[in-house]
């Protein structure tokens, strides 16, 4: 067994994350990190050394291991993006806390995200998608698929689910985009403050005049009974809005782009209604919109012959786990007929995506209808001219001009 002390930076450890060049393929450097070892060493932007987990089996075991913490509030929790520097101490519910607090928060929300409940909102999602496609057909070609389609679907879906008045969606989308896209922690804090103030007011308004969204339920069940305080409800709403928005926008846009680059796979998608869910799972595997997860070890853990020590930064590469040849045959081939089982596009372990069944419903309806309604849909610019997000963000196109 090799003993490596991660507290001494390896001079050769490459920077992480790196930008993709092709929107749906891992950066060139990442592909060299897979192979015989399930983990490698990388360096974060602030010079901190980190482990990067690349193996599918090892990554899944680690994501289910309570010795890896998601406590964003810990003073030395790893910082991967400059904009989140100095955010230590701020408690982000669900995604940024460990059990048992996490379990208590998640339990309250599970009923609102059940499979049956998500299937019940499908007809409303279908109406919404149909209307957006009517508009697109009336206004194009050429249309920017991101702003005309990929963005409004999740935005309307999450506003409706939560009970956020749709009239406020422009404001909320802007704050949400500023928050996840901020270059500095100052910019992120400003957007955060705006969102927080807005939601604070909304929760107060809903307490006075209850509606019938998820937030209203949380208020009725938890605030009234004392299970949650006002601030917790506001922070939960904030996490749901931000987590449910950016990822899904990118999954729709990058999913559509990947399909357009593989026209023969569009035929598979349209071959029968059962083909759509399967194609969506493969897109989640192949595109890995959430490229990596951040954790910190709280105890010593042996992984692939290395010793991860307490306090070490551990990054988990969803992209490379989803492209592990020991888990998927020809992992770099996009095959809409494949059974992409056990992909980690929604993570794994206790934090596995709470909104995954909403996201599936959105993706199945959005992509299924898009290609059924507009046969021959294709990018209006060459692939290398599609502007894409930076490596630390949710992966996807910033703009995607399409024609038909």
């Amino acid at each position: 067994m090799t003993e490596t002390d991660i507290s001494r930076p390896a001079p050769s450890a490459p920077p992480f994350p790196q930008d993709r060049t092709c929107p749906y393929q891992p950066p060139e450097a990442y592909t060299r990190w897979r192979g015989d070892r399930p983990l490698t060493r990388v360096t974060l932007f602030d010079g901190r050394p980190a482990w990067l987990i690349t193996g599918h089996a090892e990554g899944r075991a680690l994501l289910a291991d309570p010795r890896l913490s998601s406590d964003w509030g810990h003073p030395v929790f790893p910082v991967v993006v400059r904009r989140t520097e100095g955010r230590g101490g701020l408690a982000f519910p669900l995604i940024g806390v460990d059990d048992p607090l996490h379990a208590r928060q998640r339990r309250m929300l599970i009923p609102s995200f059940g499979v049956k409940r998500m299937n019940a909102i499908r007809p409303r999602l279908q109406d919404l998608v149909d209307r957006l496609l009517d508009d697109m057909l009336a206004n194009g070609p050429v249309v920017d698929l991101v702003s005309a389609f990929a963005l409004p679907v999740p935005s309307m879906a999450i506003c409706e689910l939560l009970g956020v008045p749709y009239g406020d969606h422009d404001f909320f989308e802007e704050c949400s985009r500023d928050f996840v896209g901020a270059a500095t922690s100052g910019e992120a804090d400003a957007a955060f403050a705006q969102l927080y103030t807005y939601l604070h007011g909304l929760v107060a308004k809903k307490q006075a005049e209850p509606g019938d969204g998820l937030l209203d339920e949380l208020i009725a069940r938890q605030l009234e009974e004392g299970g949650l305080d006002h601030d917790e409800v506001v922070m939960i709403a904030l996490v749901l809005l931000v987590a449910g928005h950016e990822t899904t926008v990118n999954a729709i846009a990058l999913g559509a782009l990947t399909l357009m680059q593989h026209p023969e796979q569009i035929d598979v998608l349209l071959s029968d209604p059962d083909a759509v869910p399967r194609a969506v799972e493969e897109l989640l595997r192949f595109t890995s919109v959430s490229d990596y997860l951040v954790r910190m070890a709280t105890e010593e853990i042996e992984v692939g012959g290395e010793t991860v020590r307490a306090g070490d930064a551990v990054l988990v590469s969803i992209t490379l786990m989803n492209r592990d040849a020991t888990a998927y045959q020809d992992p770099d081939v996009f095959d809409a007929r494949r059974n992409a089982r056990h992909h980690v596009g929604f993570g794994h372990g206790i934090h596995q995506c709470l909104g995954q069944n909403l996201a599936r419903a959105e993706l199945e309806i959005a992509l299924g209808s898009l290609f059924a309604r507009i046969p021959g849909l294709r990018p209006a610019v060459p692939l290398d001219q599609v502007p894409i997000k930076a490596g630390h963000d949710a992966q996807g196109p910033i703009e995607l001009p399409v024609t038909w």
């Binding site: 994501l63 289910a64 998640r106 599970i110 009923p111 609102s112 995200f113 059940g114 499979v115 049956k116 409940r117 089982r341 056990h342 929604f346 993570g347 794994h348 372990g349 206790i350 596995q352 995506c353 709470l354 995954q356 069944n357």
Partner: protein, 64 residues
Amino acid sequence: MRITIDRDRCIGSGQCVMTAPGVFTQDDDALVALVPGQEDGAGDPRVRDVPLACPVQAVTVTED
């Protein structure tokens, strides 16, 4: 086939329902439940994949 579910661990992901929909379901709390009458797995081979699909090891399957 014997299926054991642990509702205290379940995080409501729905992977079990997606993998073997004839055997697994979610109750009104959206936590895992077995479809009444199908508690023995109903001979569905996909049930064997559920323990691995579940993100929190809330399902175990043992062969009789």
